[in-house]
Symmetry: C2
Subunit: 127 residues, 2 copies
Amino acid sequence: MKLTKNQQLVYEALKQAEMPQTAYNLLDGLRDEGLRAPPQIYRALDKLLELELVHRLESLNAFVACAHQHHNDGFSAFSICNDCGAVEEFNLPQVSEILSDWSSQKAFVAETTTIEVRGHCAKCART
Amino acid sequence: MKLTKNQQLVYEALKQAEMPQTAYNLLDGLRDEGLRAPPQIYRALDKLLELELVHRLESLNAFVACAHQHHNDGFSAFSICNDCGAVEEFNLPQVSEILSDWSSQKAFVAETTTIEVRGHCAKCART
DNA sequence: ACGAATTGTGTTATGTTATTACATATGCTA
DNA sequence: TAGCATATGTAATAACATAACACAATTCGT
Ligand SMILES: [Zn+2]
Ligand SMILES: [Zn+2]
Ligand SMILES: [Zn+2]
Ligand SMILES: [Zn+2]
C-alpha cells in the first residue's frame, strides 16, 4: 500500500511524536514541508485512519500512530493519563470477543470500536 | 442530589431527546427558557457528567442522559449507528472486570472508561 | 444574623477543531 | 488521448469549547 506525499508526511510525524498530536499540531510541524491548510492534514489523516495505520483518540481530539504492526479489525484501546498525557495502546482479545458477541446478539454490525480508559498513569499516581 | 435550574433544564432536555444532543443543539432548544450562551450549557453538562447522570459520546461530540438508574463507576459503553445515529447504552460487567484487571497490572488508576462501538444498527443493516 | 467562602449565573469575546467549496493537478486505464 | 478517479492547494466558514470578568445566590461557621 503506497502512501502519497502528504500521507507519508503526516504518518512520519505521528511516528516520530511520542505524544498524541492534534491536527493543528501536525500542521504547525509540517509547514516547512509545504503544508499550509487544515484540509491537507485532515485528508491525510482520513486515509491513515482508514488503513488503521493511525488511531484517533476521541476524548483528546488527537491522533497517534498505531503501536502494533498492523491490524484491521477496527478495534483499538488506550489508556490515557490525565496528568502527563501519556498514552498506551493495548489489545485485549477477550474484550473484543465479548463486544463482538454482544454485537451479534443485537444484530449490530460493528465497524470500529474504541476504548479509552482515562485516569492516572503509574508514574503520576505515585506522587 | 439537588440540581440547579440550568442543570435541570439541560438534564430534562437530554431525557426528552431520543437522540444524542450537542451542546449547541441543547442551547437552541433552551433559548426560550432563557439560556443564551454556550458556557451556560457546558457548565450544566460538566456537573451532570460529574454526577454521571449524563454521558458524553466522544466520537460524536454529543451528550445523552444515562439510560440506567444511576451508576458511579465511571464506566460507560455505547453502540452508535453511523446511518441513523441511534445510540444504545449497555453494560458488560465482564468487560469492566477485564479492563480493571489490566489497569491494576499496569498500576494505572482508571477514572473513566468509555467504549464506543460504531457501525450499523439492526434496522439500518437490514436494508 | 453576619460575613466569608463557595458555587452558580450571565455575558462577551476568543480559542480550537473540522468541513465545505471550488479550482487545479496527477496518475491510471480504456 | 480522452476520461475517470484520486490527490492537492486555498480560502472561507462551520462546529465545538473555553477564558475572563462581574455579579447573584447559597452554604457555613461564628
Ligand atoms: Zn493500533
Ligand atoms: Zn502520567
Ligand atoms: Zn450510564
Ligand atoms: Zn441505524
